[in-house]
Symmetry: C2
Subunit: 217 residues, 2 copies
C-alpha cells in the first residue's frame, strides 16, 4: 500500500514537470515526439532514416537519447548530421520529465529546429506511465518480437498516437500473423495509425515521413 502511494506521488510530480516542459516547448514552437519500444526494435534506425529524409523535406530536428549507459546511440545519430544529447539513466528503466526539463536548455540552443525527437530507454512497460511533455508518443515494434505483443504489453499500445511496425522485411522468416497482431492493437487503441516499415530496406517509410510532415503542420 505504502509503495503504491509513493509511486503515485512520483507520477503526480512527473506530470507537473511534464506540463511545464510541454508549455516551454510550445513557447519555442518546437513539436516533440517520444519514441518508445522494446530493446532492439529499431528506434535508432528509424531516427537515422529520418535524418536523411527530413533534411530533404527541410525539417530541422534534434534528438534527446535515453540509455542506461554509454552514448552509442547519440553517436549513431550525430554521424547523420543531427545534434543529439545523451541522457544516461543508470538503473532507471525509462526517461522522466525531470530529466527532459534539464535537457531543454540544450534543445533551445539548437538553432532553427522545429522538431524534438526523444528516444526513450528500450522498455515495454514503464515509459507508458511517464509523460515527458511530448506532443505525441509513438511505439516502434518489430515483427521478430512476435504477433502476441499487444496482448502481453498493453500499456505501450493503449495510449500511443502512432505505431511503427518495423522489420517487415523479415516477415518471410518469422511467424507473424498481421491480422492477429492488428486485432490486438485495434482492441486496445481503436483507429490508431500503423506504419509497417523496414528501416533496413526503406520500405513503407514514405507514409511515415508524409504523416510526420502533416503533424508538424
Amino acid at each position: 500500500m505504502h509503495e503504491i502511494l509513493i509511486e503515485e506521488k512520483i507520477l503526480a510530480r512527473n506530470d507537473e514537470i511534464a506540463s511545464e516542459n510541454r508549455k516551454a516547448l510550445k513557447g519555442k514552437g518546437i513539436y516533440s515526439i517520444n519514441i518508445v519500444s522494446a530493446p532492439g526494435a529499431g528506434k535508432t534506425s528509424l531516427i537515422e532514416r529520418m535524418a536523411g529524409e527530413l533534411k530533404t523535406l527541410g525539417v530541422k530536428f534534434a534528438v534527446v537519447e535515453g540509455d542506461l549507459e554509454g552514448d552509442f546511440d547519440s553517436k549513431r545519430i550525430e554521424r547523420h548530421g543531427v545534434s543529439a544529447l545523451q541522457i544516461t539513466t543508470g538503473r532507471a528503466c525509462h526517461l522522466d520529465a525531470h530529466q527532459i526539463s534539464h535537457a531543454l536548455p540544450w534543445v533551445f540552443g539548437q538553432d532553427g529546429i522545429e522538431l524534438l525527437v526523444i528516444e526513450n530507454v528500450g522498455n515495454m512497460v514503464c515509459p507508458a506511465e511517464y509523460d515527458l511533455g511530448e506532443d505525441i508518443m509513438v511505439t516502434v515494434m518489430s515483427t521478430t518480437e512476435g504477433d502476441d505483443k499487444p496482448y502481453k504489453y498493453p500499456a505501450m499500445y493503449r495510449g500511443v498516437d502512432a505505431l511503427v511496425i518495423n522489420k517487415i522485411d523479415l516477415r518471410p522468416y518469422v511467424q507473424f500473423d498481421m491480422d492477429y497482431f492488428k486485432h490486438g492493437v485495434e482492441t486496445l487503441n481503436p483507429g490508431v495509425l500503423t506504419f509497417p516499415v523496414s528501416c533496413q530496406t526503406g520500405e513503407g517509410l514514405l507514409s511515415w515521413y508524409t504523416w510526420l510532415r502533416t503533424v508538424l503542420g
Copy 2:
C-alpha cells in the same frame, strides 16, 4: 535521495524473501532457473522446446510465468504437458521474491518435479535487481535485437550464469557481428557460458540441454 532510500529498502526486503525461497526450494530438492530477456526474444519458445527434450531425458519440471496481463504463455507451456502457473504483475515490470513465495505452495504441489523454470517479464533492466531465490539466472537475447545490446543493457549480461543467443537462423538477414557482441559480453561477464541457438529450427539446443542436465546433477 528519498526515492533511492525507499528503493533500497524494497530491494533489501526482496533479498530477504528471496533467501527464504531459496532455502525452501533447496529443502524440497528443486533446482530453479530465472529466465530473463527483452520482449519477444524467445523465452517461451525455449521453454516449449525444453518441454519435449527434458521429458526424453526424464527431467520433470514446472513453470512459473510472469506477465503484465493474460495467461497466453502459461497456456502455450501447458499444451506441451508441462504445468504452468501464471503470475500477472499488472504495472510492475519484473517479478519479485514475494510473488514467487506465494507461488511456492503450488510448485511444491507438483509431483516429482526436480526443476522450476521461472519466466520473468520481458524487460532488460529491472529483473536484474530482483533476486527471486533462483539457483541460476539465464538471459535470452535474439540476434534480431542487434549486436550492441550488452553495451546498452549491461545489468542483464553482468550477473547472469548463462546466455542463450536465440534466432541464429535469422543471422543471414540481419546485421549482427558476433565478435562485437561477444566482446561486449566478455567485458561484462568474463567466461560466461553462451549458447547460440534457434528455437525455430532447433539448431544448437543440444548443448543447452546437455548443460542443463549437468547443472541439475
